[in-house]
Structure formats: C-alpha cells, structure tokens
C-alpha cells in the first residue's frame, strides 16, 4: 500500500475540516478526489504531504507513519511529489534551475546528471526550448507543466495534484491534463484533486467524492458517475456534469 490514511481528523481552531477520513491508495493507482469547495479535499492532500499538521489519526506512506513526531519528514517528502494550483515556481531562477535545485541540494545528484535529467523531463512535458526562460515569461499551462517536471525530477514514488488546472485559462487545461494522463499511463501512483470530471472518468481508477469533511462515496469512475448512491453525490454531480 502506497498511502494509508486512518481516522484522520484535522481542525483549524474550532473548525473541523476533516472528520474521520479513511483512505488507501495502491501502487500505480490513480485516485481522483472531487467535491464542492470547502469539502476538505485540498486539506486532505496537504495533510498527506504534512504541509498541514494533523489533529488526530495516522497517515502511512509505504508503511512509515508520517504523523509520528520522529518521522524524517524531509526524507518522506522526497518520495511524494506535489503540484500546486498556483504553480509556485521559483521566480528568481530559470526553468532549468527550478528543476535541478532540489535534486542537487537534497539528493546531492551531480550537477551534470541533474541537468541531463532536467532536460529529459522538459522534453517529456514538451518544453525543451524553455530551459533558459524565467517563469514570468511562461503561460499558465507552461508553468504548470514545468512544476510537474520539477516534482518528477526528485523521482517520487507518488504524485499529489492539488487542483492543478483550476488557475488556468480554459484553453490551457488540455496540455496539462495530457501530461498527467501520460504520467498515469507510465504507472505513476497519483492522487488528484480536481474539478475536471472528464479527466476523472478517463484516467481515474477510483473516484472519491468528499463533502463536509467526510468521504461520502467512492467507486470506479463509471459507476460513480452513472449510478451514484448517495443523495449528496447525486446533487453535486447534477450541478457539475
């Protein structure tokens, strides 16, 4: 099991955002998390990468309990790539340096090999010609593809996507989803929070519907979209499909 979440709870002050979440993700599985805003999907993802501290419950990554205070968080994060809604590229570095920085500084990869790998990844996301560009000169879609390449440079075992296309102009959503589809095809374990129902249906092995801090329903995409059981799922899907 790549990711196991047991009885996870998360509160911000008195506001309980996640109420008893149980979830497991297998190797090479693509799990898509959908739900209305404020349902806790992004918080769940951020908890899996410990960008939020958990209130109670356990999260295990490849069997290692990351909620344990003694866990080496930096080491675990090397294996868990994350892509953000706002890209969060480093604006003071070129695209190439954005991708090479973490492998060189964290994994101590020799510079020449890091650069070779970075150029290979740039080719993979279709931006080989942008190596020397600064993030400010790129479109949103290009930025997000660079952000994906940057996360992949650490050779993570799984990737978390937090609404990767929500900040993009509509015509750029496709290019980012294409990169993600290819990644799924290559066997990457992925958890994707998104509003792209088409992507969920096409690429997802399993879709999870969250609302009010709970996992309301989960199933194979076709089952969940065609025959939702829960009333809340039905009413949500009727609005977005």
């Amino acid at each position: 099991m790549m990711i196991e979440v047991d009885n996870l709870k998360k509160s911000f002050g008195t506001n309980e955002v996640l109420k008893n979440i149980n979830l497991s993700v297998e190797k090479q599985e693509v799990v898509v998390v959908i739900g209305p805003s404020g349902s806790g999907k992004s918080t769940l993802l951020r908890c899996i990468n410990l960008l939020e501290t958990t209130t109670s419950g356990h999260i295990r990554i490849e069997g290692v309990d990351i909620t344990d205070k003694k866990a080496d968080i930096n080491k675990i994060r090397e294996d868990v790539g994350m892509v953000f809604q706002q890209f969060n590229l480093f604006p003071h570095m070129t695209v190439l340096d954005n991708i090479m920085l973490a492998p060189i500084k964290v994994k101590k990869v020799p510079k020449a090999r890091a650069e070779e790998k970075a150029r290979e990844l740039l080719g993979k996301v279709g931006l080989a010609d942008k190596a020397g560009a600064y993030p400010d000169s790129l479109s949103g879609g290009q930025k997000q593809r660079i952000a994906i390449a940057r996360a992949l440079a650490m050779e993570p075992k799984m990737m978390l996507f937090d609404e990767p296309t929500s900040a993009l102009d509509p015509e750029m959503v496709g290019e980012v989803l294409d990169v993600m589809k290819q990644l799924a095809k290559d066997g990457m374990t992925m958890v994707v929070v998104t509003h792209e129902m088409g992507f969920a249906r096409e690429v997802g092995d399993r879709v999870i519907f969250m609302d009010g801090g709970y996992i309301v329903e989960e199933n194979e995409p076709n089952e969940l979209f065609s025959h939702p059981h829960e009333q809340r799922t039905i009413s949500f899907l009727s609005k977005v499909l």
Partner: protein
C-alpha cells in the same frame, strides 16, 4: 573669496581624513548592521515566544531611543566596561552597528514575510529542509525586495554617523567643528562638509539603484 579657498585648502587634509573615517563608520555600520540585523530578524521570527522575547526587546530599545543617547551609552558605558578605557572610534562603530541592526532586522523581516507562503511549501514538498527553503528560495527573493528600503537605511546611516563627532571621533563633522572654532566661522566649514556628505549619499543612492536595476533584469 580667496581667503575662503585658502581656509578650505589649509583644512583639506583634515577633511580628507574625516571623510575616510565617515566612510569607515558607514561601511562598518552597513556590514556589521546587516549581519547582526539578519540574526536578530531570524531571532524575532522564532516560533517560541520566550526565545523571541529578547530580540523584540532589542529592536524596541534601539528603535525607540535616540541614536545620540545610544552613542553616549556605548562610549561612556559599554566600551570602557569592556576595554577598560574609552575609544571614540570603537564606540562609534559599535553604536552605529547596533542601531543599524535593529532597523535592518525589521526591513528584512518585512521582506521575508512578503514572500508568498507557496514558495516555502513548494520547496518543502521537494524535500528541502526549512533552512534550505530559506536559503535558496525565500532569502534570494527577499533580498531583491528589501534593496530599496535597505538603501534608505544606508543613506540615513551616512548622515547619522555625524553624531559620533560628539564623542571626539575625528570624522567629517568633528573637523568642521574644529575649523569653525579655530577661525570663529560658520558657513565655510559646515557648507563644505554638507557638500561632501551630499557626494557620499548620492554615491550610495546611485550604487543602490544600480544594484536594483541589475537584479531586476535577472
């Protein structure tokens, strides 16, 4: 007019050495103030409020009391306490650096906190430690952002260094006072050093805007 020029030329070696000392005071203030200021800035951003407290006190004291009083305290109190005797130049450097550090700390803190939290999150999600994220991601961006206010601090420092003339550190203002007293004149010495101070502050602001432009193109 000729006598004015004659007076200035006779004092030129003193103005020259005074200018050098003023530059030395300012540069030491910039260098030590920045190093110390960065340390205090990180101290003030500590999560533990008890550890943070001394740094808050430091900033409050040095920003809330007159620089002139601080100079007197350092010259007549701190330096004799440590060296056993007073020393105007040491006291000047120490007082200016301590004072500058408090202002630099606040400028840096504002700069660091103005960097979007997503930058740190992205760095951490790539496996970088808190320290690496600060060093490679946040600080380089913050430095660019704080350059203009830092430049203002440095210009103020050049001007404020004139206060150490009161503890007999022979910098520019000290020599102007000496010249004024010797010949019982006012305009010539003080206008001369005003002109020299202007050259120093203008040079500093040109240098800062040069740096700004250089960093902006990157």
């Amino acid at each position: 007019m000729q006598s004015v020029i004659h007076l200035i030329t006779s004092y030129l070696p003193f103005f020259w050495s005074g200018t050098l000392l003023t530059i030395a005071f300012s540069l030491s203030g910039v260098v030590f103030g920045t190093i110390l200021g960065l340390g205090i800035c990180f101290g003030k951003m500590l999560n533990n409020k008890y550890l943070r407290f001394p740094f808050i006190c430091y900033i409050t004291f040095f920003r809330g009391t007159p620089l002139f009083v601080q100079i007197l305290l350092v010259h007549f109190g701190l330096v004799p306490l440590i060296l056993g005797q007073s020393n105007g130049i040491v006291a000047g450097i120490v007082a200016l650096s301590l004072n500058e550090a408090a202002y630099i700390a606040e400028v840096f803190r504002a700069g660091i906190q103005s960097i979007d939290g997503g930058q740190t999150e992205a760095a951490r999600s790539l496996g970088m430690s808190q320290r690496q994220a600060m060093r490679y991601i946040v600080l380089p961006q913050a430095v660019r952002r704080v350059l203009p206010p830092m430049g203002n601090e440095f210009i103020s420092l050049i001007k404020d260094s004139s206060l150490v003339s009161a503890i007999a550190a022979p910098e520019l203002t000290y020599w102007a006072q000496a010249m004024g007293a010797q010949y019982s004149i006012v305009w010539t010495p003080y206008l001369t050093i005003s002109f020299i101070y202007l050259i120093l502050t203008l040079t500093m602001s040109f240098f800062v805007s040069f740096l700004e432009r250089r960093m902006a193109t990157k």
